[in-house]
Amino acid sequence: MNVVPALPLMIVAGGACVALLASAGPGGRVRRDGPFWAGAATLIAAAVMSLVLWGDRQEALGGGYRADRFSMLLNLVFLAAAFCALLFSVREPAGVDRRGEYISLLLTSTAGMMLVAGAGDLIALFLGIEILSVALYVLCALEVWRERSLEAGLKYLIVGAVGSSFFLYGLAFLFGASGSVKLSVIGENLSVASFTDEPLLLVAMALIVTGLAFKASAVPFHMWTPDVYEGAPTPITAFMATATKVAALAAFLRIFGGALTDLVDTWQVAIGVVAAASVIVGNVGALVQRNFKRLLAYSSIAQAGYLLIGVAAGTLQGAESVLYYLIAYTAMTLAAFAVIIIREREVEDGEMVDALAGYGRARPVVGVVATVAMLSLAGFPPLSGFIGKFLLFGSAAEQGLWWLAVIGAVGSVVSVAYYLRVLRVMWFGTPAHGGEPRKLLTIPAPVLITAVTAAVAVVGFGLGASLLMDVCRDAAAALLAA
């Protein structure tokens, strides 16, 4: 049994156990600081291991896990998002009160995501989706003294369970139609015979798209997103908005871009319509939001739409654009959430857009971070958000999906309105009571460092786009490698 390729996954899973045991360990110091350091060390070790394993495909656990450039690149994205969530959680109420549980669940969820990205068969894929989801249900509800947090956890649990069951049902049909659970064998079996009219396969694809759309919060399965994002502890929202979306898109790419790539004509329109609907509903919904967390929730629905445009293209170029945009999206979303995390600890209603009135002038560093994040999300050149969208829409247009590219472009023009409104309030707004924004506390250093690093990454990924694109191209090629 070869376990070396699965080592990053195992390190993270083991780290979750260590963090949990540390919180129940002897002595106040170990209990207080142990979980955090265990978590940080675990994430760094797993990232190093992922870099070591960068290369051609190696299979582990009887083919259930595949370490290739695709899964290792996404491992780094998951680990970076988890690391940022860990740093955001310093002094977060839930993170202080239940350190071991909090960090252990965060690591468990990360392990689930890594399993999704590297899944070699349908069973591992489903297990990964479940591991990441179940840990997140609990994390959403972890601030048990806050009704909103409980509501978020319950809503996410119910909707997530529905999504998972659709997904599992779809996988069962896919197994029935193709005769194998191994992703590579499914691809081979389906490419030799003409399967396009097989009703089993059509049902399977419909159910799988539905299930994954729930996880990626794509329209029409997005209704839970604003409520859950608003209610969950903000570092967890940041983690969900980035890493969970990356995992869902990774599953989309593994199944549709990898195993079912020969049937592109069958599923292209379906995913295209979901993408277009997400772009429209997400952007229009965000226009009227007064709560910054809800605004980012609708924005993340729209971003899921942009990403799915690249999946719908069904080409290697589409897959590499999705990977590039996933990385850029993770950086800019983390930067945006850092602003909320900083502000909501200072004032009661810190998650409202109006609470940021004049905040840019009072705290220029935070203001610049927010500006970079918002401009990149809206797609201003030369930031990475612009390049990512350009690549995504380009890959769709290349395949003759002009309508999809046009909807995406119009959607991002609409999005400028609400992203810039945040910046207007921040730089030119006056607080409701006049004068300076209330209560400026010292920002915890880890939060500020993370925020600045994320903003620098947004700019860096834009300026160094060609380097990152080369990496993404190698990773996308691994999807189809025999």
Binding site: L21, A24, E198
Partner: protein
Amino acid sequence: MELSDYLPIVVFLAAGLVVGLGILALSKVGRTKQNQVKGLPYESGILATTPVRQRFSIDFYLTAMLFIVFDIELAFIYPVAMVLRDAGATALISLLSFMFTVVVALVWVWRKGALEWR
């Protein structure tokens, strides 16, 4: 597989619909008689002697939860034990790592004091 092969499923669904709607429709036909016995809570034929909304300790819930976890663990151990001779070290290591995670959870539950009866 032809589409007609799925006919039994359609028949099954139709039968379920007919029975369900039939019972619903019959309940609207004719007169209904109310009496005390019909209004009683159904407890498998035994008369209910105490109020149903009793409060009982949350510890029952925790204990039941732990019982289910270890019960299911046993359900995994047994089949592995049956094929251990053929499956060899791979099966043993997989099973041990699975049991390890459950033991970690047990240690945590214990240290958190969830096993103390309050």
